[in-house]
């Protein structure tokens, strides 16, 4: 089992990354973690989900958005966070179930797509892919967040 806290630098644990530190086009460091049945269950509880909605042909899957707590792991391992980051938006595509009755080793990769200012606020946009260790694409996302001054 890999808890996000084990692989995600926490705010204030290291010097954080100011807006100027994000480099467009830079790849994020590959990050590996394992989603276990325990994590799938804890996530169900954390978001008050109805497990019955995630049964596929009689087999229990995790909520596919169980990946959200891991979303910033690769990002923050490359660019440690500062306090006060505010998430703006996310688009995520689901491509394959993550089964809740077995361990799934996940490989996350990504890169910085853009950085820009809008209405006096500074934003960073980046993309990420999550694949199983055997290469099966699980999900991919694009996220934008606001970096405080």
């Amino acid at each position: 089992m890999t808890r996000p806290s084990e692989i995600k630098p926490r705010e204030d644990s290291t010097p954080g990354t100011p807006y100027a530190g994000f480099a467009i086009g830079r790849d994020l460091g590959e990050t590996r973690f394992t989603i276990t049945p325990e994590i799938a269950e804890e996530y169900f509880r954390a978001v008050d989900a109805d497990r019955a909605l995630y049964r596929i042909d009689g087999r229990q899957a995790a909520a596919p958005n169980v990946l959200f707590p891991y979303m910033t792991c690769a990002l923050y391992r490359t660019y440690p966070p500062i306090q006060g980051i505010v998430m703006g938006e996310v688009e995520i595509e689901f491509h394959h179930p993550i089964w809740a009755d077995e361990d799934t080793e996940v490989v996350a990769t990504g890169r910085i797509l853009d950085k820009f200012e809008r209405k006096g606020r500074r934003y960073v946009r980046w993309e990420e892919e999550f694949r199983r260790a055997d290469g099966q694409l699980l999900a991919k996302l694009v996220n934008t967040f606001h970096v405080p001054e």
Partner: protein
């Protein structure tokens, strides 16, 4: 379809535990107020999870293979707020809390599969 959830600090803390963050805007009321918010903030992806649940309910198995969720967090959601999220027939997602729009977006299936 619609879901209504009363937000508590305990829910935010529970999500924060699995999320593994230490961003005090979610946990320190005084800091959040100093930043100009009514109180601590529900994590954006936590809001999205409530919308994703509606996607799973509507699309079932297909959600896992072809689901596409877009959420834009446009307003704060704080402890004590009633968070109302709705998935319209055309796939539009909207959510309100504290008398304001909190999230917009969509939950659909990718046409190409």
């Amino acid at each position: 379809m619609k879901n209504t959830i009363r937000i508590t600090q305990e829910m935010i803390d529970r999500y924060g535990k699995i999320n593994g963050d230490n961003d005090i805007i979610h946990y320190d009321h005084a800091y959040a107020v100093k930043r100009g918010f009514r109180g601590t903030l529900l994590h954006g992806p936590h809001m999205s999870a409530f919308a994703a649940e509606l996607g799973a309910k509507r699309f079932g198995k297909d959600w896992h293979y072809h689901g596409k969720l877009y959420t834009r967090w446009v307003g704060p959601v704080c402890p004590g707020d009633v968070f109302e999220v709705e998935l319209a027939d055309d796939g539009t997602v909207s959510a309100n809390a504290g008398g304001q729009r909190a999230m917009t977006g969509s939950a659909t299936l990718r046409k190409s599969g």
